[in-house]
Amino acid sequence: MDKLNEQASSESAEKRMTPSVPTTDWSTNVNQEMEISNTNSGNNINMNQTPSQSGSNKSIPATPALLSSQSFVAGEVALTPTHSSFTPQAVNPHSAMTAITPMASGTNQARNSIKVQNCVSTVHLGCELKLLDIYCRTRFSEYNPARFHGVVMKIIDPRATALVFRSGKVLCTGLRNEHDSYIAARKFARIIHKLGYPAKFLDFKIQNFIATADLRFPIRLEALQQAHGQFASYEPELFPGLVYRMVRPRVVLLIFVNGKIVFTGGKTRGEINEALDIIYPILRSYRIS
């Protein structure tokens, strides 16, 4: 039983690792790991009492290769019933598990409410571009040199907007995650390549994440402004939110009275997470009871 769990989890852990675009884990798995060890011990006891399960246990050594590549066991992966090697068991394993409801702490709730709204990336095509030519030969593009010195190009799938500059730099925006942003940037590069420019795809970089989060409690902005005067600026007659410039990580937060936060300037999801972890206890102390 123990091994079965391990096998299943290692297999699905491998599956997990396949996507090429790096994504950071949004949550730490400390609580859930504890949960696993609990259920395992529970199962072991159960196994001693019911010998009928040993039959199912024997099927495991058939796949030793997977067992050797044992890696970090992510908690919720081991618990999902959807993994491929599901073997029928005499006793419903769910009955043996002790249910542990995860603590719905405020930080976790706030973390789960983080939603990336926009993701700005840049890429260098490595060649000089003739903007007017590009504008004339592409659909859904705008070029008005008097207003803005770049072609504004749009594609539909994924829905994205790019600013293309003469130097060959492309700024790609309007995507919800880094993967889509990458795909969109590649598509723009391909379009320009097809127009006959020797476009390459050099140093793609995510420049800015714009994310929102909801803390679900109102905040006393005046008091926060008083206490954090060197980071915060709050001018309600100009802008209704408080602008909090965090130094490390270098993220700017717009904090509103109703507990909503907008993060800008973060280069990775990790930075935004970190910023929320730092700001949460601070804002917690300025909540309106």
Binding site: H149, L254, T264
Partner: protein, 314 residues
């Protein structure tokens, strides 16, 4: 009362709602006295109209077509503290524009400008504000640069923090909305001055440039703030008992910096603040316009016998 003070009869545009919100935001009762609001509105309007007229003369002197922010900042040149405040005001506005319009925060700014450098134009700011340039021009001794601490701003913020200390959420929300009031037409990117211009210049007899309106907007807000600040000072004076050395520590009106140090004595009473009355505003004006020393003082011979024009905002 209202008829006496409102200038040319009835005008469709007024800022009464905004001004009453602003007064609430500065620490007045949540429901400011209606007569006071009308009075304050007429004061602000009158002040701004005088200002525009004077700026118009200046503008004629330098053969300009439009009244620009140059002329209005020139009027402000004597008051260094207010120049400093205007200086900061521009900085804040620029920051906010950068954030809100392109949704690109300052850390990413280096990158954006890096990309756009070859294009020699920053798209983040459509038209650059020039207030700071003019302030530098007038301020030859760099006195504005010497000011590192904006005491007025600090006091107002302390007062706001004290007021909100013990508010419930409903009241805080109302207070926050009130604080968001300004002489601009609305929120968002297209913050216009159309209403302000209609209010000050309904017949379009003066040509006011957009930067000039921005400065006027600042000045108007500052005027309301100064009046309310002064009312609190007047109240504090009224409470003072002669011969009692501790009376200055009694505070209660959030204004005296000395009393602010003894935070224990400050009642963060918000409900208890009585609405500012007309009489109090008049007392404030009397104090502003009573010549004491200097140019309008007792020993100053006023050759042309004209009334001294002073602006409350600077």
């Amino acid at each position: 009362m209202a008829n006496y003070f409102t200038m040319e009869g009835t005008e469709s545009t007024n800022f009464q709602k905004e001004i009453s919100n602003m007064m609430h935001g500065f620490g007045d009762n949540p429901n400011p006295n209606a007569a006071t609001v009308v009075l304050v509105e007429s004061i602000v309007q009158q002040q701004l109209k005088f200002m525009i007229q004077e700026a118009h003369q200046l503008c004629n002197l330098r053969c300009g077509k439009w009244i620009t922010n140059y002329d209005i900042i020139y009027l402000m040149r004597k008051n260094i503290v207010k120049l400093k405040r205007l200086h900061d005001y521009q900085l804040k506005l620029d920051q906010i524009d950068k954030k809100c319009i392109l949704n690109i925060a300052s850390p990413a700014e280096s990158l954006i400008t890096g990309i756009i450098l070859e294009d020699e134009k920053d798209p983040t700011i459509k038209k650059r504000r020039t207030h700071i340039d003019y302030i530098r021009e007038f301020d030859e001794a760099d006195e504005v640069g010497q000011i590192k601490f904006d005491a007025i701003d600090y006091l107002r913020k302390v007062r706001a923090a004290k007021i909100t200390e013990s508010m419930t959420f409903d009241k805080y929300e109302a207070y926050h909305k009130a604080r968001c009031a300004s002489f601009r037409s609305g929120y968002g990117i297209g913050k216009g001055f159309a209403k302000l211009e209609r209010w000050l210049n309904p017949m379009k007899e003066f040509k006011l440039s957009q930067p000039a309106l921005e400065v006027l907007c600042f000045v108007a807000y500052e005027t309301v703030a100064e009046i309310v600040d002064a009312v609190f000072l007047v109240r504090q004076d009224a409470k003072k008992k002669s011969g009692d050395p501790f009376s200055k520590f009694e505070g209660g009106y959030f204004c005296n910096p000395v009393s602010l140090h003894n935070a224990v004595y400050i009642k963060s009473g918000y409900e208890g603040v009585p609405a500012i009355t007309v009489a109090e505003v008049r007392e404030v004006l009397r104090r502003y316009y009573t010549p004491k020393v200097g140019m309008n003082g007792l020993f100053y011979r006023n050759m042309s016998l004209d009334l001294p024009i002073r602006y409350i905002a600077f």
